[in-house]
């Protein structure tokens, strides 16, 4: 397997393969990136922040995706986070406790895997999907999942660690792994993944990190 591309975004910036593409300037940084990237996709505004960030993280990887064959069937989506859809869960509770009106458009986002659905819809990808809840980012866990996905017959994985739960837990890290491009052993891939995320978390970005990855 080989990690062929990665993106990262939080309120301080949006990055592709380590390079800063946009600096975060506004409080509403997801909207800012969406506008600055000149994306035409009205449904974006309806999404919750988990889906918005996944949508943007995916958009940043578009150059990589262009060259992939059978991607609509052979790419698996593997996502995880630690806080599930908690922010939207709280908003939904507010809709029925305070506004006395349970909101269907909030309720449909009270599942973390919805973000994978949004990506699948955008690209018309019919491949496999899975969403895990982990206590923290775990590179070995992702590499294990990717290995097993390839064993089942998939050829690419788009993976993501996405938290949008306030400043302490706010990052969208996405990466694409290919089965066919030259083989890197699992341990090596896992180390590389840690390195990539640590660079994003540390390099040039002033931010509070809840805990460093393992």
């Amino acid at each position: 397997m080989k990690i062929i591309s990665h993106s990262y975004l939080n309120r301080f910036g949006a990055f592709v393969n380590g390079d800063l593409i946009l600096s975060g300037q506004e409080d509403n940084f997801l909207k800012q990136y969406f506008v600055q990237l000149e994306i035409d996709y009205p449904k974006f505004y309806k999404m919750d922040s988990l889906s918005k960030s996944a949508f943007l993280g995916d958009f940043l990887l578009k150059n990589t995706l262009q060259n992939m064959v059978n991607i609509d069937e052979k790419l698996q989506l593997i996502f995880a986070n630690s806080t599930s859809s908690q922010q939207t869960d709280l908003k939904f509770i507010e809709s029925y406790t305070f506004k006395k009106n349970p909101s269907p458009s909030l309720f449909v986002y009270t599942l973390p895997n919805i973000l994978a659905g949004e990506i699948a819809i955008k690209h018309k990808w019919y491949g496999e999907n899975i969403f895990f809840i982990l206590t923290k980012f775990d590179s070995k866990f992702f590499i294990d999942q990717i290995e097993m996905s390839f064993l089942r017959g998939n050829e690419y994985c788009m993976c993501g660690w996405i938290e949008m739960n306030g400043l302490e837990e706010e990052e969208c890290f996405m990466f694409v792994v290919s089965k066919t491009v030259h083989w890197v052993e699992n341990q090596e891939a896992s180390n590389e993944l840690n390195q990539i995320l640590n660079n994003y978390r540390n390099n040039g970005i002033k931010r509070t990190i809840k805990s460093s990855n393992n």
């Binding site: 709280l90 009270t110 599942l111 919805i114 659905g117 019919y126 496999e128 064993l151 089942r152």
Partner: protein
Amino acid sequence: MGKQAKLEGSLKCYLKYGALISPLGQNVQDHYTAFCDNKSGINQELGTGFNSEDLFLSKIKHLKNSRYNSLLELACKKIVEAYSSSFLQSEKTGIIVSTTKANLEVLPSDTFASTISIIKNILNPYHEPIIISNACISGVIAINTAADYIRSSKFDQVIIIGIDVLSDFIVYGFQSLFALSNEACRPFDKNRKGITLGEACGILIMKNTLDDDFSVEYLAGATSNDANHISGPSRSGEGLFRAVTKAIERSGVSKKEIDFISSHGTATLYNDEMESVALHRLELNHIPTNSFKGYFGHTLGAAGIIETIMCMVSMEKSVLFKSIGFSEVGTTETLNIVSENSNVDLEIVLKTASGFGGGNAALLLKQVK
């Protein structure tokens, strides 16, 4: 690429009963008895709706405070009673949990924290439990993932737990979508009016070796996204069609060998319609099919696990259970819905699930001779 070659001659996976707790009973035997009598766990519960409507729910009466935690504790204790500590604590034993919402009572604290702590306290496992939260297909995916871990030799056995409980959050949410039935749900029926929600915990044990007690072989599974809508089923059944096709390919069995389909069958107009279209496209619509939702209601993250357990009961006892609530065909494509309990030997069984986020999942089970 040597590593892949090693794994090609894939290891066999066997499923056996762990635990099953629902309004219908405390163990698998209780459920067999209830299903033979076509007893449902669904009852009218006074004042449970957002506007205090008397909704139909499949609710476990003896759960009082902290319903999620007490149900998970109860189920884990049954595993401790049945399995040795050397099995539970082995480095080669994994634990996978399927739940959509876990313990919502503790919000804004971590809703998934108690899942980890309860399992650690009671089962004392070597590895941290792996949690899957992928809407209504979580249970089927959890079983598929367990097989991945066994086939890649990461674990020799996996404890697969599926659990979700009723809450105002879930009930009001499905009410807001106008998705709840005002009577006990009637999957695939002409007069179906929507979902009945339920709660349950089911546990399966998957192993790479065959024990003396009843087991079935897990052949293969797959998932596929509809790529259509985050909350509405695809009209063409594309995702389900692809998930089942992929699962059949991976299993090595032919379509003709499938004896029974345990469908998702939530009893919403659109879901059941979608399933009929997909099964028709798959040329599987003549095969006896049921939905277990008439017995359990829709138990979300538990559904795939508890319905697979009931597929195993069907295989063990050679019985097809009636799809409660069905009397007249109500889908565009006619399905062969099981309308009376009947005795049939079952060799190959297909279990499917579909859910929010456009997810569809399938798995195939085989009788062990």
